[in-house]
């Protein structure tokens, strides 16, 4: 459906457009949480303003597999949350052309007292799926996660590996136009890693955009066709995977070794 206002034909297959995006938030800090300090600061706590994203411009096109890299606190997760519509931007504009899987790594398991099954359903329903859609996918999710009967026990009894396996299975089984996988690639044992890696490869298609946040450089080199490097809220470099990852690793002053490639 061509619309009159959008005549820009050159960006036909665009999935996400991020323009001059800025994100700041303030957090309260408690330097010395004593009663005296509390009384002194009563009514006005000390706050710190964090600039999580600073003038970020980024386009993601359909058919692209974009890896997002950066050190801890670089703003990777914040960027993903803005694209998913969870955090409102402070400046700029984000346009999303398609359905986004908002089931990020930790979206499942919001209530640890409930069973894995309940959490999958609740997470899916909250994300706007219908019960039928989830039921349709549920077997596949359960199979892929290899949880077996544990799917019906409370999630507080899960190991962190089981937790991550379920989260990844949900994100990778629902097939949205735009899939965001945040830090979920390098979880689980070697076998599951391999499996999830293969699933990501399967999910690559011309009518889907994938955005992967990960520290597993080896994986990113292999699956992505584009890498964005964020540092302290700014987009440092964007381009061909090997070039950007090499630059990033040089920046970190670490050499190229197998260990670094796998988990940085």
């Amino acid at each position: 459906m061509p619309s009159v206002s959008n005549t820009n034909q050159s960006t036909q297959e665009i999935a996400v457009s991020v323009r001059n995006l800025g994100l700041t938030y303030t957090t309260a800090i408690d330097r010395r949480p004593t009663l005296k300090a509390r009384l002194k600061s009563f009514g006005g706590k000390q706050t710190r303003t964090i600039r999580a994203l600073d003038d970020v411009n980024l386009d993601v096109e359909y058919g692209q597999v974009l890896g997002v890299i950066g050190t801890n606190g670089a703003g990777k997760s914040s960027l993903m949350r803005v694209i998913a519509g969870i955090l409102p931007p402070s400046q700029g504009r984000v346009e999303v052309y398609g359905s986004v899987s908002t089931l990020l790594a930790l979206g499942v398991g919001f209530n640890p007292a409930m069973s894995g099954r309940d959490n999958v359903f609740l997470g899916g329903l909250a994300a706007g799926m219908s019960r039928d859609q989830i039921e349709e996918h549920f077997e596949e999710i359960a199979d892929f996660s290899e949880l077996g009967e544990a799917i019906d026990s409370p999630m507080r009894t899960y190991s962190s590996g089981m937790f991550a396996r379920l989260a990844f299975s949900v994100a990778a089984t629902v097939r949205p136009d735009i899939l965001i996988v945040d830090e979920a690639l390098s979880t689980g044992d070697a076998k599951f890693k391999e499996k999830s890696f293969n699933r990501i490869k399967e999910l690559r298609s011309d009518d889907r955009a994938l955005i992967l946040v990960s520290h597993a450089m080896g994986t990113l080199r292999e699956v992505c066709n584009d890498i964005a490097w964020l540092h302290k809220g700014k987009l440092i470099q964007r381009g061909e995977p090997n070039t950007v990852i090499d630059a990033y690793q040089e920046f970190l002053h670490v050499g190229k070794s197998a260990a670094v490639d796998e988990d940085l």
Partner: protein, 275 residues
């Protein structure tokens, strides 16, 4: 090229587009029912009787008051016992809604940080859970009032509008307090004292008509007073509740619901950075 499905821009304080918000909320109504069901199941997950507790709770509660009023107190007035249980059950609807609502947003942190959805679903679910706990108590009360021989009459139908006023009120307080708790976490610690005070200030352990005119003046400040008074009139005495009480209750309920919802909707977009 099609228009963007979603556009995210800095938000100014104020309400989000209500039409779209409502559509997105309506599309997720199954979440609310599923959440309530799972939550109720989970609350009694480890107990032997499981969800039977939903009926056992009101039964035991009324048994305790039977012991207190009829056996120990030696009262032969069945109206008094009926009034107490009926009012207490409705009071629990409101107080369960409050205690469930207060942490509904802060406890949903994981979901809020990872999924985009209308946040108001969380306090609404808390009220629905309170409602699910209330419905069996209604049944218990109906059986009990037959046994103790309270009068039946068409006037009891007035309980229906009173019930809806109480639901709207519960919803309003749940929405309000869940939002307040995001900014002022201390409210959760104050809450037990608040509900306890509300319990004593409301005509539950006594009848509204037995209060001195001077004490009745406080009725104006307690939203639960007119609601509970009307409720007792209808379901216990089988009388038509005073129009003024009904209107007063309705005004409170609509007022709190509107103010709370406005407050919540204009704030909810920043919950993700406040948790």
């Amino acid at each position: 090229m099609s228009a963007p499905l979603q556009v995210y821009e800095p938000f100014r304080a104020g309400l989000p587009p209500l039409g779209r918000y409502w559509k997105s909320l309506w599309a997720r109504r199954t979440f609310i029912s599923q959440y309530s069901k799972s939550e109720l199941r989970e609350q009694h997950f480890d107990s032997v009787f499981g969800q039977l507790w939903l009926v056992l709770n009101p039964l035991l509660l009324s048994a305790v008051y039977f012991l207190l009023i009829v056996i120990i107190g030696g009262s032969t007035d069945s109206t008094r016992y009926g009034h107490l249980t009926a009012s207490l059950f409705l009071f629990y609807l409101v107080s369960n809604s409050l205690t469930g609502g207060v942490k509904s947003v802060t406890a949903g942190q994981r979901l809020i940080l990872n999924t985009a959805f209308p946040r108001i679903m969380l306090p609404i679910s808390a009220t629905i859970i309170a409602l699910f706990k209330f419905l069996p108590t209604l049944l218990v009360f109906l059986v009990m009032r037959t046994i103790i021989g309270l009068p039946f009459g068409w006037e009891m139908l007035w309980a229906v509008p009173v019930f809806f006023i109480a639901i709207l009120f519960s919803l309003g307080v749940a929405i309000t307090i869940s939002c307040v708790n995001v900014y002022f976490r201390d409210i959760a610690s104050f809450l037990p004292y608040l509900t306890r005070t509300l319990l004593y200030l409301s005509p539950i352990l006594y009848e509204a008509s037995s209060l001195s005119p001077k004490l009745r003046a406080m009725e104006v400040f307690n939203p639960l007073f007119p609601i509970l008074d009307s409720w007792s009139k209808a379901v216990v005495h089988s009388e038509v509740p005073a129009t003024s009480s009904m209107l007063q209750g309705l005004a409170w309920a609509v007022g709190i619901f509107l103010v709370g919802t406005y407050f919540f909707l204009s704030r909810e977009r920043e919950f993700a950075v406040r948790l």
